[in-house]
Amino acid sequence: MGRTYGYLAEFSNPGTLYRACERVRDAGYRDWDSFTPFPVHGIEKAMGFSWSKVPWISLVFGLSGAAAAFAGQVWVSTVASPLVISAKPLLSWQAYIPVTFEVGVLATAIGTLLGMFILNGLPRLNHPLFTSTAFERCSDDAFFIGIEATDAKFDAEATKAFLEEIGATHIEMVEE
């Protein structure tokens, strides 16, 4: 037994979980998450998610990729290996558009995937909640809210009372 993760609270169905999420959100907790066997529509609103920062990462990657691809082609055809092809100018921007476009799309996709992984803290080999036997039912028929001990509002007594109040059927303190 080592570091304390925080409380894992079980709820009986998506409806009670949804309303509980709204209460946790309104109580001002920040380091918490909900765990369900299937996607619960609208849960991101109940949890008060703000907009993802991934699009900005995608934009920066996409524009840089496109610019790098364009610049690379200009360099190759004017500096590194100047070859006149079908009597066209050395710097023929038209010819660079397909590669610029493709690399722009590729860089956007890579940026989006990497951004999503990094912002989600992935990849990770383990999660503290895996020490809980009750949590195994998360991929079957149980709905959970986990409030982490790192949260500024976390208090061993008050948080437990709060989780009971919002309808948790089972609460446990998870320790790694």
Partner: protein, 401 residues
């Protein structure tokens, strides 16, 4: 998402005295002033014919863009679009009138297509080779086919959907879906051939296999932009309240955004292949669009692609009615410039360079006046939403994640 409360029925109809009831009159006034003003400011009837072709293709492509919206919604069995589909149906249902508006192209045919319709074509080996397709009789017959087919499609999809408002019959939805499956190939073939007949044949030596798709792309992006601005303006003036919300606007914005890219993809592909191969019989079309026309070409690259592309990327721009409306109006303006770039370099007044005249603009305003007047007039007669559609609930509950 289960139960929904039916929005107020009074926002389904344009009430008496509402600002939209005045649009037909406004449209008629614009039509009279625009067409008459253009006729008197035009150099001669030969020049007027080209201005007319540009303006007529503008209102035609908008109508066809709306018809295409209706076709794909039925073919995809779309649920989200039920509350905005009637707007497209109403605008496309004026195709019989819009086709009448195209008749002057037939009467002006010797002004517009004299290069291959005139007697001198018999001395031109290239035109002789194309004469099996490019001859006055066959061209006129095809004109009649477009007139009949598009008038019928615009009328039928609107009529069948309106009939369902009362009957609530699910069978009507199946009928519309089957109709859409049959109509899509017909639509694709007619718009491709009409694009060749009225646009490509202005330069009868020239050919491009991308041409039909290019005209289609412009038609669809401007049709979607028209749907966007019309829906925004209806919400602004108190119509459709509760029936159409930000989720529907977001999707119209997404379609407009996507087809802005599609137009660019097609326009660039056409240019790119011709530029690369560098064959004189293909490059001539762009040679005719050199010098001062090139400025307009660059304006199109920036205005028809770069600006709306970056403007519409963020989710908030598509969900905010003001920014979405601005983008749609901008694209509708760019579509006119696109058609102007297609038609006018072949005209006597545009032969020596880009010169946007008062006559061109007045005629455009005049025909757009007829278009919006007919649209508002048609919308007033029926429910603004297809309330008999079995997927109405799905549309009302629609949410973008």
């Amino acid at each position: 998402m289960g139960h929904h409360h039916e929005p107020p029925a009074e926002s389904l109809q344009i009430p008496d005295g509402h600002v939209w009831t005045k649009i037909p009159l406004l449209g008629a006034a614009l039509a009279v002033l625009g067409i008459a003003g253009s006729w008197f400011t035009a150099g001669d009837s030969h020049e007027f014919a080209f201005s007319y072709l540009t303006a007529a293709l503008y209102v035609l492509t908008l109508s066809l863009g709306c018809l295409f919206f209706v076709l794909i919604q039925h073919a995809a069995r779309a649920g989200w679009s039920v509350t905005v589909r009637r707007t497209a149906e109403s605008l496309a249902s004026n195709l019989p009138w819009i086709m009448l508006l195209l008749l002057p192209i037939f009467f002006f045919r010797h002004d517009l297509y004299h290069h291959w319709m005139g007697a001198q074509a018999a001395d031109d080996p290239i035109l002789v080779g194309k004469s099996a397709f490019l001859n006055e009789g066959f061209w006129s017959a095809r004109f009649a086919v477009y007139l009949v087919v598009w008038s019928f499609l615009g009328w039928w999809f609107h009529r069948t959907s309106v009939a369902q408002d009362e009957s609530k019959a699910v069978g009507a939805t199946y009928k519309l879906e089957k109709g859409a499956y049959l109509s899509i190939p017909v639509f694709a073939i007619t718009i491709t051939f009409a694009a060749m007949d009225w646009g490509m044949s202005l330069d009868p030596h020239w050919f491009s296999t991308m041409w039909g798709v290019y005209i289609f792309a412009g038609s669809v992006v401007s049709g979607f932009a028209l749907m966007g601005i019309t829906t925004v303006l209806m919400l602004r003036s108190g119509l459709l309240k509760g029936w159409v919300n930000v989720e529907h606007l977001h999707d119209l914005g997404k379609l407009t955004f996507a087809f802005t890219i599609f137009w660019t993809y097609i326009a660039f592909s056409q240019y790119f292949l011709i530029w690369y191969a560098n064959l004189p019989e293909e490059t001539m079309w762009y040679m005719h669009r050199g010098d001062s026309w090139e400025t307009l070409g660059i304006m199109l690259m920036a205005g028809h692609f770069v600006i709306p592309f970056f403007f519409l990327i963020p989710r908030t721009m598509k969900r905010n009615p003001v920014t979405l409306g601005l983008a749609c109006v901008w694209i509708l303006g760019m579509h006119f410039l696109d058609l102007y770039y297609i038609v006018m370099p072949a005209s006597p007044q545009g032969h020596h360079g880009f010169h946007l005249s008062v006559s061109d603009l007045l005629l455009w305003i005049g025909l757009v006046g007829i278009f919006i007047g007919l649209g508002a007039w048609k919308m007033r007669k029926n429910s603004l939403v297809a309330i008999g559609d079995p997927r109405l609930g799905e549309s009302l509950a629609h949410v973008n994640f």
